[in-house]
């Protein structure tokens, strides 16, 4: 909490100092929410929770008239009914300076930020840069330590976790847009359980990733992704996809995925089991008119010794949707129905609600299907353009039985309230 307060003060100081600069822009969003629910911790113990959450995102842009931006996003939450259980959680998602179009060629970023590259996403406390060369070709790289798992602003020791990578972006290749990237990440993955840090083995991943996307005239688009794990000399992931616009209102999407377990090569678990998964999906989306849409989809997943099939059929209107979804094969069968509605009463008020029912059969020897159901409804009031108040009530019920008892109530009633506010101000000329 202290670190968070210091961060906020430092940021505020920066804002004040820069507020007078030419054409500086400050924008952001603040949200406060409360969520009240009851939960069975053991068969005989029930606890009530009131989780309060606050979120803040700030963005100071066009500093000194440049394409220079300071931004941050943070969240704090605690359980007001169970403060003694170390349920407090404060984290900074990102906090960085971004300077774009330096000399019309280079984008720079420093601080805590996340990168979405073909080798996978990575969060770093460090720096990244991307330079545009010619014909849209660009090269980029990043280097930094991995942020602590608890989201605090503390810098991780280099040996405890770091990541670096590079990429080449070829947007106008004859084959389409291609991005090739390399990344290495190593570190002791950790997490926090009830306030206690738990460390997982020091894991290393080193990958090459390729992304490819090509619009095809008269057809649609094609996409491919490949991840190659260097230490193990294995292809870790293949993703091929084709989207066919059969008519202006009908699109068909086929997808194939191959994946190996994402186990670091220096983990003892890497030597066990040559697991792999194949997945093929086919989906059709039919827009009957601007208001009504039908979608039908099916998926087949193959893994060692077993497979799974699933399907869904849905109908959606501007204000509501209904979907039937089912699964059969490995790990049991499910069949469910979900409905949702959202209706704007006027420019200020929106009401929404929904219901869901699913049945489950986890094994052949199960006599009666289990089920779960949920009903929810609420309203949102945009009492001013910048702010809204939202309320939602939820009723949950389930009869999922397994070899062990699940914690959680057979039925549960929950309440949520949230207020959010965004702002935008320009300073200077």
């Amino acid at each position: 909490m202290r670190r968070l307060a210091m961060t906020a003060l430092a940021l505020l100081g920066g804002i004040v100092a820069l507020a007078a600069a030419e054409a500086t822009v400050l924008s952001g969003r603040v949200g406060v929410s409360s969520y009240l629910w009851e939960r069975s911790e053991l068969d005989t113990t029930e606890t009530r929770h009131l989780q309060n959450t606050g979120t803040l995102s700030l963005r100071l842009a066009r500093i000194a008239g440049q394409d220079l931006c300071v931004s941050t996003s943070m969240r704090g939450r605690y359980d007001a009914r169970n403060r003694g259980d170390n349920t407090d959680d404060y984290r900074v998602y990102h906090f960085n300076v971004r300077w774009r179009n330096v000399a019309d060629r280079v984008d720079l970023e420093a601080g805590r930020h996340r990168l979405y590259w073909p080798t996978g996403t990575v969060n770093i406390d460090g720096g990244s840069a991307e330079a545009r060369l010619w014909r849209g070709i660009s090269i980029g790289g990043y280097y930094g330590v991995t942020p602590p798992e608890d989201g605090s602003l503390k810098l991780t020791e280099f040996d405890e976790g770091h990541a670096y990578g590079a990429r080449l972006n070829l947007p106008k290749c004859r084959l389409g847009r291609i991005i090739v990237a390399f990344a290495e990440r190593r570190g002791a993955h950790g997490y926090v359980v009830d306030g206690q840090a738990v460390e997982v083995n020091n894991l290393i991943s080193r990958r090459i990733g390729i992304d490819w996307r090509r619009p095809i005239d008269g057809f649609g688009t094609a996409y491919g992704q490949l991840v190659y794990q260097i230490p193990t000399h294995r292809i870790g992931r293949v993703h091929l996809s084709a989207r066919w616009r059969a008519t202006p209102t009908v699109s068909v999407h086929g997808q194939f995925r191959y994946r190996r377990p994402d186990i670091a090569y220096n983990s003892i678990f890497w030597v066990f089991g040559p697991s792999r998964y194949y997945e093929a999906r086919l989906r059709a989306n039919i827009r009957l008119n601007p208001t009504w849409t039908v979608n039908v989809g099916g998926t087949y997943v193959d893994f060692v010794d077993d497979n799974t099939q699933r399907f869904d059929v849905g109908l959606s209107h501007r204000y509501f949707s209904v979907m039937i979804h089912g699964k059969a094969g490995g790990a049991g069968s499910t069949m469910g129905l979900t409905g949702n509605a959202l209706y704007p009463i006027n420019d200020r008020w929106t009401v929404h609600g929904g219901a869901r029912y699913s049945s489950y059969e986890f094994g052949e020897d199960q006599e009666d299907a289990n089920w779960e159901t949920a009903i929810w409804g609420g309203a949102r009031w945009n009492w001013m353009t910048q702010s809204s108040i939202e309320l939602e009530a939820q009723f949950l019920s389930q009869d999922v039985t397994t070899q062990q008892d699940f914690a959680g109530n057979e039925s549960d009633f929950r309440l949520m309230a949230r207020i959010s506010y965004w702002f935008f101000n320009r300073f200077g000329a």
């Binding site: 929770h49 998602y93 979405y116 003892i268 059929v313 790990a331 949702n340």
Partner: protein, 369 residues
């Protein structure tokens, strides 16, 4: 069960397709045809000659379409009647938009937003594209929050955000990020892709609305077409096991797998946590685990790959049962050659001498001499 599902699906699909066809037939209709090009370029009309109130309207709901009297200023009433134009009703608009502000205060021309309208030979099918809006409403020149213009943000979804969008968005996000940024900030992506945070956010309260920050997150697995801001359904914590085991989704996309599962499933010293059901009853360990390991080694690693504790697998596999298949890594120059900390040496003796121990399996044999 599978046959029943297929039968029910076919029945339901049939009913739905029939219903949709009826709806489509009932809602289709021919529209009025008008050439802006003919009126503006040939006849020399100005925009405000027909759309008189355009420059002064403050609400998007104002009817800016010309009344019949606007047409009869140039055309014969009989000619207008022959075209069938009787004056269009104001289209339904949820936008917060003032023509007066944009035209008078900001000084924009009609074509700044209604691009190409002077050349159009057909009436526009709807509102102008958002690109001209975003040119100024980019969070630098003007506020770029969706709520600036859209009073019903929750209902606004691009056409490609269909049922399985959560599985498809990667294809766009990696190659078309600028268009994502029109509506979404980078924080929005991070709400899901910061796996470490999710480990704490969802534990115990899957689907908690308090986790919802962004405006229109798609639904998990397309099971909810219109549901807003919720990735997993409310009871997901009770049923997620079946999806994990059947590999119907790639949990690792969002969750930090070695640690996320462990946060709840590691039973040590905490009776509130749960062993996965496929472990069987406590103490009832059997050899079904081999199949589980082959199918889902990630799940094993999630709980058991913890430093400072010996992986449970080694209790048996180190001395009695080899975990390796025949020819395991025999064609690979593995890192054990260069790295004394290689995982191989957890079980194998790092002798560093030909003919001895693990190294001696390949080096120092007679055939090598």
């Amino acid at each position: 069960m599978a046959i029943h599902i297929v039968k029910r699906s076919v029945f339901v699909v049939g009913i739905m397709v029939l219903g949709c066809a009826i709806i489509a037939a009932a809602t289709n209709g021919a529209g009025f045809r008008l050439s802006h090009k003919l009126h503006v370029e040939t006849a020399g009309a100005a925009c405000e000659d027909c759309h008189e109130a355009a420059a002064t309207a403050d609400a998007s709901s104002a009817n800016l379409l010309p009344p019949v009297t606007g047409c009869t200023a140039c055309h014969d009433a009989a000619e207008v009647a022959e075209y069938g134009y009787t004056g269009e009703a104001a289209p339904e608009r949820e936008l917060i938009f003032s023509h007066r502000t944009h035209a008078t205060t900001v000084g924009l021309t009609c074509e700044d937003c209604h691009s190409g309208i002077r050349k159009a030979t057909e009436p526009p099918s709807g509102l102008p594209e958002m690109a001209p809006c975003v040119h100024c409403h980019n969070k630098r020149e003007m506020a770029g929050d969706c709520g600036v213009c859209h009073s019903q943000v929750a209902l606004r979804r691009p056409g490609n955000h269909v049922a399985d969008w959560i599985l498809d968005h990667v294809e766009y996000a990696r190659s078309d990020a600028p268009s994502c940024a029109i509506c979404h900030t980078r924080t929005y992506c991070q709400e899901c892709h910061d796996g470490a945070a999710l480990g704490l956010a969802i534990r115990g309260e899957a689907g908690a609305p308090a986790d919802r920050i962004g405006p229109t997150a798609a639904a998990h697995e397309g099971s909810d077409l219109l549901i807003l801001q919720r990735t997993h359904n409310l009871n997901y914590i009770f049923t997620h096991g079946t999806e994990v085991r059947s590999k119907t989704s790639d949990c690792a996309t969002c969750h930090e797998m070695p640690s996320f599962c462990n946060a709840c499933h590691n039973p040590e010293d905490d009776a509130r946590r749960f062993r996965p059901v496929w472990h069987g009853a406590p103490g009832a360990f059997d050899f079904a685990h081999a199949e589980m390991a082959r199918n889902d080694i990630e799940a094993c690693a999630a709980c058991h790959d913890v430093s400072a504790t010996e992986p449970e697998c080694l209790r048996c596999h180190q001395s009695t049962v080899s975990p390796h298949s025949d020819g395991f890594m025999e064609d690979i120059h593995g890192d054990w050659h260069d790295n004394d900390d290689a995982v191989c040496f957890v079980c194998h003796d790092n002798s560093r001498h030909a003919g001895q121990g693990f190294c001696g399996r390949c080096h120092g044999r007679e055939s090598d001499d």
